[in-house]
Symmetry: C2
DNA sequence: AATAATTTTTAGACTAATCTAAAAATATAT
DNA sequence: ATATATTTTTAGATTAGTCTAAAAATTATT
């Protein structure tokens, strides 16, 4: 059965909504992710259901079948491996690679992606710290805590970001914060969740509540 | 102006026909390359003409504009660079890479392809010996002669193939012939253009006229 | 429970890319 | 040069993916 690029993108959108713990993905939430009308979503969801990639009960949202889930997982695998390639081999910055990976993830060959995986040294996480599923679809797990849950005096290493939009990543770059940065909490300002931190044992900076919420660290 | 993947494929098809020295590409020749009906070609050619990528006079075939030519050249550049990547970095065989490169060539980013070029060491020829245009669209040239024009006693090194279909390349592999093979002509059999050759100064083999016609060598 | 607001689906239309069948134009052969 | 064959174009239909506007279903509010 052939699956179009558009269908793949819908599967990914649904997957990303379900990933956040929702029991099913609403038509509206999908239309926002895909930047299309709700009517288009209804049409497409019916097509995915007919192909046994999704389960759709009218007015009750969409889930993925095992097959739909597998396809979305493999798209995620491809996306993240290509991001590693672009950063590690072609020297792009972590905020520059998303769009390119969005295109590259639709390249078919499974053999190619498995070889790419090997070529890159079987990375477990992408340049934003997101886990890369292996060839069987298994995601690596990792002990990680958002910075806002840290207490004064605690230390940790940045291992991921909750949001990987270009502006946010560029802002982190400006601050000198990236994957691998060592952090110690010096002070916390509860009124807006901001904090003063010691960065890489050398520089004191103040970061906003938004940043605290979106940084994942390993203790 | 946005150019669809389909339009890109038509541009490439037209380009490849014109490349063989034809003054213009006929509707029929394009429909054969694209494996579509002649009617579809007429439709598409009109669209390309409207976008100023092709020049079309009814019943008189198609040419490419400077812009159309440039796009086709850049597609060729991308295709061939990706082939080098697949063979040099992911260890695919020269007969396995065409289909994957057909997909990869449609990835947009020019910056990415220029970086890929550098990463690969700015190769001038792809795994089949075809020249890779540089970032400005310039093709490398090379002194090359088809094997059938060689005389008994002459020697040369294989640098390219006229046809790069999977069966032909696999047949060459079976014979132990590839880019870089050293050849000396021992005998020529005029009645069917076959020849007996000395391969890599070690092995005597007989090759058919078809092979002689499709191998390019440097003297 | 009835009404209002929101979400989802249906209906009908549009575009890109394709097709078949028929008509028109060009090329070939007697 | 006329008839035949081939090539190209036109006409009309089809499918995937999209849209807007309206109808239907669900959820929230009084």
């Amino acid at each position: 059965m052939k699956i179009s690029k558009t269908e793949e993108n819908y599967l990914k959108a649904i997957f990303s909504i379900l990933e956040k713990g929702k029991p099913s993905a609403s038509t509206n939430s999908i239309s926002q992710k895909m930047e299309t009308s709700a009517a288009s979503v209804t049409d497409m969801v019916k097509r995915l259901a007919k192909k046994k990639l999704a389960i759709h009960e009218s007015h009750k949202g969409v889930k993925l079948t095992k097959e739909g889930n597998k396809i979305a997982t493999m798209l995620t695998r491809k996306h993240r491996l290509w991001e590693v390639f672009l950063v590690d081999k072609l020297d792009f910055l972590w905020d520059e690679v998303h769009e390119m990976a969005e295109e590259l993830e639709h390249i078919q060959s499974k053999e190619m992606i498995d070889r790419l995986d090997n070529f890159l040294g079987n990375p477990k996480f992408d340049p934003h710290g997101d886990p890369i599923p292996d060839a069987d679809g298994k995601f690596a797990t990792r002990q990680q805590t958002p910075l806002n849950e840290f207490k004064v005096g605690e230390k940790g290493t940045v291992v991921g970001v909750r949001e990987s939009s270009t502006p946010f990543l560029q802002y982190l770059d400006q601050l000198g914060l990236g994957l691998g940065s060592k952090i110690e909490i010096l002070e916390k300002y509860e009124y807006d969740n901001s904090a003063k931190i010691l960065l890489n044992k050398s520089k004191e900076i103040v970061i906003t509540g938004k940043v605290c919420l979106n940084l994942f660290l390993q203790k």
